[in-house]
């Protein structure tokens, strides 16, 4: 026992291959080496997940230790002398690979993983090129476990990454190991099929082609694709996704390069929910209503038709009603609100609001945080925070990445999680305390968490749509009374719901939450207004659940599909999806990221281009300015409060945190209009309806934890 006064060492010095290295105590040798640029091969070791020491590839020589040691389980120790490349080690690696290949089918020519397979790479680097195995191979046929997941036991090298990512990373535990010895294999939780999130994390993390996805298998070779990093267009979490593109078509989505805020996390929508882009009902030509029937028309004719009508209504002083979707780019919103306010002279501008960000900004106005200037949490804060309170949402269903962050915090830092929800939620499994309460009683339940939250010393509060209007200042006041640093996330639904708010897609606020001089109609009011002359929907489908009171309204719809709103439209513009356009989007935590056009669909145009062409057609090109996304982003960067973010971060595909604020503490947020769609992991509005993959998932969402 060392003297209690002696501080523990903050750094450990050791030698690897003659190089003097140092690392914090407790660092695993394999990580320390990686940081120093010394690569130690491994299949089973995976940063962030539990240790296995199963593959035996990372064996190294350590002086004074008789046997080879696994670098993946050995913490660095003072004075340790390690050799990572010796004849003995080379022989061991080669021997292990030779063992591994005995029962591997070597069907590389047709294997999805061929070309990006870790086993191929290892054999290439460490040998075992010659085959001395002449016996019969162990073989088991391939199985389909779900609409997404296929398992080929013969290819499986049993590294148990899939089991861990499902259990530890996703908190699902849908995969296990059965049998033993050479016939060991991975099994799904329903004996012959999976009941899970279908997130595909197991498939992506598989070092070989044992786990494959229905959307990608046998479709292409990896080297035939271009890889475009963009942002997922489904929920508001803003996961970076790398789309594999061949001939303009998306072949797959993943984030194996671990760029972006989400590392390699993606949910089923991010990985597989891109197939709406090639749905057979995708609109690829503008349409004009002729004799009460929508007929295909050329872009010039359709644009000219709308421009004439808009000019006429403008001249008559007719009422415009404009609604934007929640998947458009910041540039599109900014350009659109300029179009509405400056050209059409209207503040009747809205989008489907799904969470109360405005009240939060109002409640935080003039409220400085203890020890920190910013009170809006980023996705990283959720991972670093010693405690998180999730109130009024089913985080794992609606915000899978944020839920993943919270799980990782529990796993890596023993963070405390508290939940207040209407029904059972997955977080309960590892929560320090879970309270089930009806929406109206959730704020009252906060008091039960006071002591535990206070004891954590720091807190992030994540709230859903049950906390809105007056509820938000109540929540903030409770948080302030804890007298510890507290940050917040106001949850919103879709990929750019937050951007729509930030860009002033509201009747009451200009971009950057500047109060509008004159207030316009909200979405509900527009729909109910019998006088409306023009109803213009840019990527929203408000008529799916509502009717338009104005019979005579001229309806223009930008849409990917002939949805309810498009069916009622007089002119339909086929619009590009977020995967087909450039620009920026802002996630639920206020982090701006870049959209990069990945796929191409003939005949469609991005909303920004449609807006620009329409403005030009109406003769307002000069007032509206260039409709290139770069030019518009410059205006946002320069003019929208909170968006003065470092440009290089965005240009290089990073996430820049905005600093939105509201100059006032009292606002009318039209509480009744705020309503989350309560999407599940397998629904995503119109995008989900037109995704074959998402609609094919048989188990009902959430079954996994609700049933228990």
């Amino acid at each position: 026992m060392s003297a209690p006064t002696q501080a523990p060492p903050t750094v450990v010095n050791f030698t690897v291959d003659g190089r003097q290295l140092s690392a914090p105590p407790g660092t695993l040798l394999i990580d320390a080496c990686k940081r120093a640029g010394i690569e130690i091969p491994a299949f089973c070791y995976y940063e962030g997940y539990s240790l296995q020491a199963a593959c035996r590839m990372c064996l190294v020589e350590v002086e004074k230790m008789p046997k080879l040691q696994t670098a993946c389980t050995l913490p660095v120790m003072e004075g340790m002398i390690v050799r990572s490349e010796t004849e003995q080690i080379a022989k061991a690696r080669k021997g292990t690979l030779e063992f591994l290949l005995t029962n591997h089918p070597l069907d590389c020519p047709v294997c999805d993983k061929g070309g990006e397979c870790e086993l191929q790479d290892m054999v290439f680097r460490y040998g075992a090129g010659e085959s001395r195995f002449t016996e019969m191979k162990q073989h088991e046929p391939e199985r389909q476990w779900s609409p997404v997941v296929f398992y080929d036991p013969a290819r499986c090298i049993l590294c148990y990454r899939c089991v861990r990512v499902c259990n530890e990373g996703m908190g699902v535990g849908a995969l296990g190991v059965t049998n033993r010895g050479v016939v060991s294999e991975i099994v799904p939780n329903k004996v012959d099929h999976l009941d899970c999130d279908e997130c595909g994390a197991c498939i992506d993390i598989c070092p070989v082609g044992a786990l494959t996805s229905d959307t990608y298998r046998y479709k292409t070779r990896p080297w035939e694709m271009q890889h475009v990093g963009t942002v997922c267009t489904h929920c508001s979490n803003g996961c970076k996704t790398t789309l594999g593109i061949r001939n303009g078509e998306i072949m797959r989505g993943n984030n194996r390069d671990r760029s972006g805020i989400n590392g390699e996390f993606l949910c089923v929508k991010g990985r597989y929910g891109f197939d709406f882009t090639t749905h057979t009902e995708r609109l690829t030509s503008p349409m004009i209503r002729i004799n009460d029937k929508l007929e295909p028309a050329s872009w010039s004719r359709a644009l000219g038709f709308v421009a004439e009508k808009f000019k006429a209504v403008l001249a008559e002083g007719g009422k415009f009603g404009i609604v934007a979707g929640t998947h458009q780019s910041n540039e599109e919103y900014f350009y659109l609100q300029k179009f509405a306010r400056n050209i059409l002279g209207t503040a009747n501008l809205d989008h489907r609001r799904t969470g109360d960000v405005v009240s939060l900004l109002a409640a935080l106005n003039g409220n400085t945080n203890i020890g920190d200037a910013t009170r809006l949490a980023t996705a990283d804060d959720l991972y670093r925070s010693p405690a998180t309170l999730v109130i009024g949402t089913d985080l794992s269903q609606q915000h899978p990445f944020l839920a993943f962050q919270v799980r990782a915090a529990v796993r890596h830092f023993k963070a405390k999680v508290f939940t207040i929800s209407e029904g059972p939620v997955r977080e309960e499994k590892y929560a320090a305390k879970s309270i089930v309460a009806a929406p109206g009683e959730q704020l009252a339940a906060l008091e039960q968490l006071r002591e535990a939250a206070k004891a954590a010393g720091q807190l992030v509060v994540v709230y859903g749509d049950t906390v809105k209007g007056e509820g938000v200042p109540t929540l903030v006041a409770w948080a302030n009374s804890l007298e510890i640093p507290v940050k917040f996330v106001a949850l919103v639904d879709d990929s750019n719901s937050r951007g729509a708010l930030d860009m002033g897609m509201m009747p009451d606020f200009l971009p950057g939450y500047q109060p509008a001089a004159s207030k316009g109609l909200g979405l509900a009011e527009m729909l109910a207004d019998p006088e409306l002359a023009v109803f213009w929907s840019i990527g929203e489908n408000p008529l799916a659940h509502s009717t338009l009171a104005s019979r005579q309204a001229f309806v223009v719809a930008h849409s990917m599909f002939l949805d309810e709103t498009a069916q009622r439209a007089d002119v339909v513009f086929p619009s590009a999806s977020a995967y087909e356009k450039n620009g920026t989007v802002t996630n639920v935590c206020g982090q701006v990221q870049r959209l990069k056009a990945a796929a191409q669909t003939m005949g469609v145009k991005a909303d920004l281009e449609i807006l620009g062409l329409l403005g030009k057609e109406m003769g307002f090109a000069a007032q509206l300015g260039v409709w290139s996304h770069d030019a518009v982003f410059k205006q946002i960067h320069a003019g929208v409060a909170g968006y003065n973010v470092p440009l290089p971060v965005i240009l290089t595909g990073g996430a820049a945190t905005t600093t939105s604020a509201l100059g006032t503490s009292s606002v009318d947020v039209r509480v009744e209009d705020i309503q989350s769609a309560r999407d599940t992991l397998f629904t995503s509005g119109s995008l989900g309806r037109y995704s074959k993959l998402l609609t094919s998932v048989p188990e009902y969402p959430g079954a996994l934890y609700r049933r228990q």
Partner: protein, 436 residues
């Protein structure tokens, strides 16, 4: 079931075998039963551990780790509950001694556990018995019930203020669960896959709590050691090799059986006198000295006093004391194949070299046994075994590799003879021409 005792035996832990109702608590109490525990209550934990250290008692399960040291590693100030776990998963081929200890003297084992509990401050223990030994589980359960009924288990045992609960736990068929960390996984209701070590069970064992885990014979030796004193026990064996061991002799001898003899007892005396010599007057070919994991000894290597050091000097090991004696007619290729079939069947599959290596070797040995072997196979078997050795996750890989290496090195001629017997004749050039 046990064999007739032999005069050369030194009966310390088998002394009650053969008494009427030897498994009953009455017989046990009438023959020094539970006296050692009462003595232990008067001793400090340090005294008990020192007594064990003095006795030179080493783990009887196979690894031979000094027991006193093992118990001394328990952090007794750790606030977590502590556990006593008995490894009664006896499944090393050649080994059948723990069975006798549980069948004939279950209370001796219970008392050993009780002393361990008293020493480390454990209030709970489990006896992990292989599932095949159901009748022994029944015997142990009955003995435990008797011990509870007589107040030797439970709360405030005999007014000492000591609480100790002991239960049996059935396995379900897995050799790997004899490995201590795999046993703990199994005891926690999981697959019997070993754990990454360190931490060792003494620090983080059952339910991540400090745990003393020993073999049945080890625990069963403890009461006698406390009663006779560590020094007296040590004096029975050779230096550094204290006491007696139960040797399980099987194979081609006239009187196979389990015999308790001092450590350092000569192997040839064991075979020729205690076991009555070779069956049918055959010559000795070799001995697998310490269970199937131990490298085979050729007949000329077998004349030595059996203590831990002498086994090591012959590059083999005392292991679990399962001595399998083979006469001149024994087919070594068959024995090597059966050994590898066993390990391939029992490999848990966790790590690559063991999972794939044992199966590959099994397939090659099968081919040689069936007469389809090639000359290069023999060297390949040797090389693949070396490729497993020291590189696997747990000792099972070594246990499969070591005997195989020894079989090939020491009986290479037998492997080669198999190739010759079935050598495919070389096709003559004439025939080749005829075909064209």
């Amino acid at each position: 079931m046990f064999n007739e005792p032999h005069p050369l035996e030194v009966k310390i832990i088998t002394k009650r075998f053969g008494l009427p109702n030897s498994a009953s608590i009455d017989t046990y109490l009438a023959n020094d039963g539970y006296k050692a525990f009462l003595k232990a209550v008067e001793m400090t934990p340090e005294d008990i551990i020192n007594e064990l250290k003095t006795s030179n008692l080493r783990g009887r399960g196979g690894a031979g780790f000094p027991t006193g040291m093992k118990w001394g590693f328990i952090p007794r100030d750790n606030p977590k509950p502590k556990y006593v776990v008995v490894n009664a998963d006896e499944s090393e081929p050649g080994t059948c001694k723990d069975r006798l200890l549980m069948e004939n003297d279950p209370h001796q084992l219970i008392e050993g556990c009780l002393i361990a509990g008293r020493t480390i401050g454990a209030k709970r223990g489990y006896i992990y018995i292989r599932g095949e030994y159901r009748y022994l589980i029944d015997i142990m359960d009955k003995a435990l019930a008797e011990a509870y009924a007589h107040g030797w288990l439970g709360q405030n045992i005999k007014g000492t203020g000591i609480d100790f609960d002991l239960y049996t736990h059935s396995g379900a068929g897995a050799y790997e669960c004899g490995e201590e960390s795999a046993l703990l996984e199994s005891l926690e209701g999981k697959r019997g896959v070993p754990r990454i070590r360190p931490p060792f069970p003494a620090v983080s064992g059952l339910y991540a709590s400090p745990t003393v885990l020993n073999n049945v014979e080890t625990f069963s030796s403890v009461p006698a050691i406390l009663l006779m004193g560590g020094q007296a026990y040590a004096d029975i064996g050779t230096p550094k090799n204290g006491g007696t061991r139960m040797l399980c002799v099987s194979g081609h001898v006239n009187r196979p059986g389990v015999y308790e003899v001092p450590l350092g007892f000569p192997m040839m005396t064991m075979i020729n006198e205690v076991c009555g010599g070779m069956r049918n007057g055959k010559k000795l070919k070799g001995v697998i000295p310490g269970g199937s994991s131990s490298p085979v000894l050729r007949a000329e290597e077998c004349d030595f006093p059996m203590d831990y050091d002498n086994y090591a000097a012959r590059k083999t090991m005392a292991g679990s004391a399962g001595m399998m004696v083979m006469d001149e007619d024994t087919d070594i290729v068959k024995v090597a194949l059966r050994t590898m079939r066993f390990y391939a069947h029992e490999s848990c599959g966790w790590c690559i070299p063991c999972r794939e290596g044992t199966t590959w070797l099994r397939k090659m040995l099968t081919r040689i046994d069936e007469g389809a072997g090639r000359r290069a196979d023999i060297d390949l078997i040797h090389e693949l075994s070396k490729n497993m050795l020291g590189r696997t996750f747990c000792p099972l890989g070594d246990a499969a590799a070591m005997p195989t290496i020894a079989f090939v090195e020491k009986f290479r001629d037998e492997f080669e003879a198999r190739l010759r017997e079935t050598a495919v004749p070389v096709t003559s050039p004439d025939q080749l021409i005829a075909i064209s």
